[in-house]
């Protein structure tokens, strides 16, 4: 397995569009060709070689030194692995359809938005719109999985249609806003207005809540599905430990009936 590493030469002077740094796009190029690639920096462009020291050889893995000003890291990833040592900026892993994006630090806004497949792991916190819909898109995430070990911001899983989001820490307000289907597992506590406008899908966390008035209390249940989900999570790498073990009795809230929805909020005891 060949690894291509990018180490920052110095502090960034503006926001960088790092979306060209995908393993499959770089695999066919030589190091000098990669160093000459243009990256958007603010309104202009800058060569990869001016920002990064390159080492290793192009292949199926890219290692990137992280910075909160590196946007679009792994956006459009179709295969291979990107490992980021440190934080990333906004829209990391948007529109991913395969491969693995591992962020050791935190992620900014809209990480994994409109994701279709693959795996996004964030060891730190994630910003708002995690796994949400990109502006103009009807659906949010339609496949793959997002595993965040820290907290996430508001509107995680907006218009989500398929796939799995697991957040180890607390979630912000309006989690699973207008969710169509899929699963959002929260290891910590949910924020205000969780599940607003959801049509279908599952939100799972521990501890009782007082949900929005559109949710009907379906009482305590023991669902074999929760064991199946937990078994599935146990087979994955990088699942936040707080998201495991939710297999016992759960209160089921059905909604959001204000929108004709029949999704569910499951609050595990």
């Amino acid at each position: 397995m060949s690894v291509l590493s990018f180490r920052l030469k110095g502090p960034l002077t503006g926001r960088i569009d790092a979306s060209p740094l995908l393993p499959h796009r770089l695999a066919e190029l030589s190091l000098p060709e990669i160093a000459a690639l243009p990256l958007r920096l603010g309104r202009g462009h800058v060569a990869v070689g001016d920002l990064f020291d390159l080492s290793g050889s192009p292949g199926d893995t890219v290692e990137l030194e992280g910075d909160g000003r590196l946007d679009f890291v792994g956006a459009g990833l179709t295969g291979g692995t990107i490992r980021v040592a440190g934080p990333v900026g906004h829209r990391a892993g948007t529109g991913m359809s395969g491969g693995s994006l591992l962020v050791e630090g935190s992620a900014g806004l809209a990480a994994g938005a409109s994701m279709r497949g693959g795996e996004l792991i964030v060891r730190g916190d994630a910003g708002s719109e995690l796994g949400g819909a990109l502006p103009g898109e009807r659906a949010g995430m339609t496949g793959g999985r997002i595993l965040v070990h820290g907290t996430c911001g508001d509107r995680a899983g907006t218009r989500m249609r398929r796939g799995l989001i697991a957040v180890g820490g607390d979630a912000g307000a309006y989690a699973a806003l207008h969710m169509t289907a899929g699963s959002l597992v929260i290891g910590g506590r949910p924020g205000a207005f969780t599940g607003h406008g959801m049509h279908n899908g599952t939100i799972l966390f521990r501890g009782e809540i007082e949900p929005l008035p559109g949710f009907a209390d379906c009482g305590l249940n023991r669902l074999p599905f929760l064991s199946l989900l937990d078994n599935h999570l146990s087979g994955l790498n990088g699942v936040p430990p707080a998201c495991r073990g939710m297999t016992g009795q759960a209160r089921r809230w059905l909604g959001d009936r204000g929108f004709g929805g029949r999704g569910e909020i499951l609050t595990c005891l």
Binding site: G163, A181, N200, L223, F225, L229, N231, H232, R262
Partner: protein, 301 residues
């Protein structure tokens, strides 16, 4: 050939290509998983009139099942994919969905579209719009609200090639001797993975031959092995043989059926002539109907 006093006839079992699938049924307790398994594989002894042949392959510990509950593995065999799909669909709907606390999963690797056996794919409509689906690890599951909670069911299973109709005929001095030998052999054969013995207790007493003197009878009694007809010229039984029992084996591969045959032979030979077993043979139709031939002399333990 005489082994431990038992005649092992130089004969072979003739078996056929079939299609099979495996379902994993779990429940809150092993007993309720067994209830579901027994019902779903009931009335499934022979494809001649039951549509399929089925049985409980083995019981599963909680750590072996997808939802971490005790369960059973069921094998279903039929002559083709579409009839297998129809049989599984009705048995799932009437025997597994209805049984308290059960969930049902496919027990075979994901196959191609042409081999699809619908499970929750059709049964979900029982949810009348309240069903939910979940896609986990590339497999879709349906959650159907039922009166004791939720019926969890994988969307589909797949058919795999299989071999049906392997058999052993146990020839004994007395009916009890034949019965005890058949019980012991069936127990030994059931321990082999990937096989089921579809008849009651794994044992058949009414072995059949192809055709009959009556029109419309595709099969009739195997008169050559009926002890009450020992005096007829076409009888194949020695004078001492008073009772014959057959064990039919369906397996996922020819090797599985062969392994079960060997396990059965080993058990019978170990019991010896002293237990009342006169001999062992196998049933065939002259070798023209089935592709798989299991020669007893080649499968001795």
């Amino acid at each position: 050939m005489l082994l431990n006093g038992i005649h092992i006839e130089n004969s072979y079992a003739e078996a056929f290509d079939m299609k099979a699938t495996r379902l994993i049924v779990t429940a809150d307790t092993p007993a309720w998983a067994r209830h579901a398994g027994m019902a779903a594989t009931g009335f499934a002894t022979s494809v001649i009139a039951c549509g399929c042949e089925a049985g409980i392959e083995r019981e599963l510990a909680p750590e072996e099942t997808p939802d971490g509950r005790p369960g059973v593995a069921l094998l279903f065999f039929a002559t083709g994919r579409s009839v297998l799909g129809k049989q599984v669909e009705t048995r799932l709907g009437q025997c597994i969905l209805t049984c308290p606390g059960t969930a049902c999963f496919s027990g075979v690797p994901r196959g191609v579209k042409e081999d699809l056996i619908p499970l929750g794919r059709k049964l979900r409509y029982f949810g009348d719009g309240q069903q939910m689906s979940k896609l986990l690890g590339g497999r879709r599951y349906w959650r159907i609200p039922v009166m004791d909670g939720e019926f969890l069911c994988e969307e589909s299973s797949w058919s795999v090639p299989a071999v049906g109709g392997g058999n052993l005929l146990i020839l004994a001095d007395a009916r009890m001797a034949a019965l005890e030998a058949a019980e012991a052999a069936a127990d030994a054969m059931r321990a082999v993975p990937n096989v089921v013995l579809p008849f009651p207790g794994g044992v058949v007493r009414s072995g059949s031959k192809v055709g009959a003197k009556y029109k419309g009878m595709p099969a009739s009694t195997n008169d050559a092995y009926c002890p009450t007809l020992r005096g007829l010229p076409r009888s194949r039984l020695a004078a001492e043989v008073e009772s014959v029992l057959e064990i039919v084996i369906d397996g996922l591969t020819a090797a599985d059926v062969a392994a079960a045959t060997t396990a059965g032979l080993k058990c019978l030979i170990e019991r010896g002539r002293g237990s009342g077993i006169w001999g062992v043979t196998a049933g065939n139709y002259g070798g023209k109907l089935g592709r798989h031939h299991f020669h007893l002399h080649e499968l001795l333990p």
